[in-house]
Amino acid sequence: MSSPLKGLIRFQPTLPGDTGRFAGILSGFILLLAVMPILTMIVMSFSGASNLDFPPSSYSLQWYQAAWKTFVSPDSSDVLSLGQALGTSLLVSCLTMVLATLIAVPAAYALTRCEFRGKAVALQLMSLPLVFPMVVLGLAMLLVFDSLPFHLTTSRLVIAHVILALPFVVKNCTAAMLSIGTEVEEAAQMLGASPMRAIIDVVVPLMKSGILAGMLLAFIVSFNEFTVTYFLYTIDVMTVPIWMYSRTVSSLDPTVFSFAVLIVLIDFVLIWALEKLVGEGGVSF
């Protein structure tokens, strides 16, 4: 991952304000360290041996074949297949991403552009999910949902995930909004736009990169959330981390790494697509 990366950095134009080569190489090195355990894991998933010797004595695709078998012909003792779990996960994550963004943008606007009574309280509430120990939160949310007179299944996962993702999305939108001076909005209004139009047509597009960063985080938080989901899932609505958990607590063969590589791949593709989507519009990520 890192060698083509450093090569490309070297070919960067060195105009003033462009990345210095030093900063580029330093950050490449830091990131390499950060992903080291994941790289190790990827290498091990191609191991030809049955143990975790590193580096593997031989390489093969045997664990991918084993993983593929599980995927196409699930164990009859599994309540749900990985495919179903993946479907649920994607549905929940997409809904979470969209909902969290839709509610976070106006919230971020209120928090950055308005001085109002109760602002401190609102700010604290927004960051509450971050500081809640997850196990306590999962337990408390289960108690709350159970006390409702009606039954929720998928939607209670979405609600919980939106709450968990909200601080990330709001923080990102807030940071983005802060970098936009109030003057653009005022200028739009001077040119006759209503305050609402000024926000939707001028401020939001300028915030695009912050919003997308938030959306991405929302998706990722939701797609990988385990602890709270553990308390809230039901037998027919199971997400990938829960499925993985019931598969992997007991055994550690490189099949598990193959599944993890699959998840990494999914996330990688998502990041790629999103970056591409905004990259053409000139918004850097």
């Binding site: 330093l26 190790t40 552009r113 120990p133 408390a140 005022e186 990494v264 990041i271």
Partner: protein, 322 residues
């Protein structure tokens, strides 16, 4: 903060507002919102209108928080009917105080390290031209938070374990006599905390640095500043709100960390969330767990408020200096 005077309807204009109308971009008030003529919708109502959708979701969280608060003053077996402050009193014992201090210390150190490492990464990311590199960077930043930590812990074992690659290399070079323990102690936990929370530091800082217009840098460079000077005197101060946000996020996230001390600390680094977990199961003492949870939540919230205040002040100073 300034509203268009025309929108305010008829009324007694103040001098400043008339000036503003003529030069909306040139003068900006600093600090408090300007005096405004009365409007149909109060700013508070307007703000809460924007906040309503998120508050609907957060209602579940508020209910959950109230439940936890109620449980924390209950008694074991009578979480909803009993009343006792014993669970809080118990937290004053050295066992829990030590754990709270350890938790805050590790969270703080991890936040500082994460931010220091995140600054060059975020700067690079915010200035990268090549989309390919940008995508790879972003993926590399996010993956450690993303990938199941249980699986990553095997990776760390292979690299840093007593018989891992690093120890083997050091032994081979004759630098050490016996393998050094890099996992299953506070250092191992600290490393895990920094690694998993790294994206929380990088993303807000990169976002803030992207907001620092390149023209500022170019202007400074034109005036003869070296690249390092430009970075230190222009980019860094102007992205301070993002840096503070990043540090706070990492701190808050790590203060309630549970999986990292479990897997990389070998259960020998008693952070508070681990103890909360012991109380929920197997001890089934939900009041004790809730009380410890409440203390953890309140402490983190206080520190976050403090940082919010700091970054707010910083922001106002920045705005004033522009």
């Amino acid at each position: 903060m300034q509203r268009q005077v025309a929108l305010h309807g008829a009324g007694n204009f103040s001098f400043t507002e008339i000036t503003d109308m003529q030069h909306p971009n040139l003068t900006r008030s600093v600090g408090e919102a300007p005096v405004r003529p009365p409007r149909a919708i109060s700013p508070t109502a307007r703000a809460w209108f924007f906040l309503t959708p998120s508050m609907l979701f957060l209602a579940v969280l508020i209910a959950a928080s109230l439940l936890v608060l109620r449980m924390s003053v209950g008694t074991k077996g009578a979480e909803w009917t009993g009343f006792s402050l014993a669970s809080y009193a118990q937290l004053l014992e050295p066992y829990y105080l030590k754990s709270l201090l350890l938790t805050l210390r590790l969270a703080l150190i991890s936040a500082v390290i994460a931010v220091v490492l995140a600054i060059p990464v975020a700067y690079t990311m915010s200035r990268l031209q090549s989309p390919l590199v940008r995508r790879i960077f972003l993926a590399a930043v996010l993956l450690p938070l993303l990938v199941n930590l249980l699986l990553q812990s095997y990776g760390w074992l292979v690299i840093l374990g007593p018989a891992g690659m690093l120890n083997k290399a050091l032994l081979g070079l004759g630098l050490i006599k016996r393998p050094i323990m890099m996992l299953y102690n506070q250092n191992g936990v600290l490393m895990g905390l920094v690694q998993t929370a790294f994206p929380l530091a990088v993303l807000p800082i990169a976002s803030a640095m992207r907001g620092v217009s390149r023209s500022f840098e170019e202007a400074a460079a034109t005036l003869g500043a070296s690249r390092l000077q430009v970075f230190r005197q222009v980019v860094l101060p102007m992205s301070m709100p993002g840096i503070i946000t990043g540090a706070t996020l990492v701190f808050a996230y790590n203060a309630s960390s549970f999986v990292v001390p479990l897997l990389l600390g070998g259960r020998r680094v008693p952070m508070l969330a681990v103890m909360v977990h012991d109380q929920i199961a197997p001890l089934m003492n939900w009041p004790a767990a809730s009380a410890a949870g409440v203390v953890l939540i309140v402490t983190t919230l206080i520190i976050m408020t403090l940082s919010e205040y700091l970054s707010g002040r910083r922001r106002r100073m920045l705005e004033a200096s522009q």
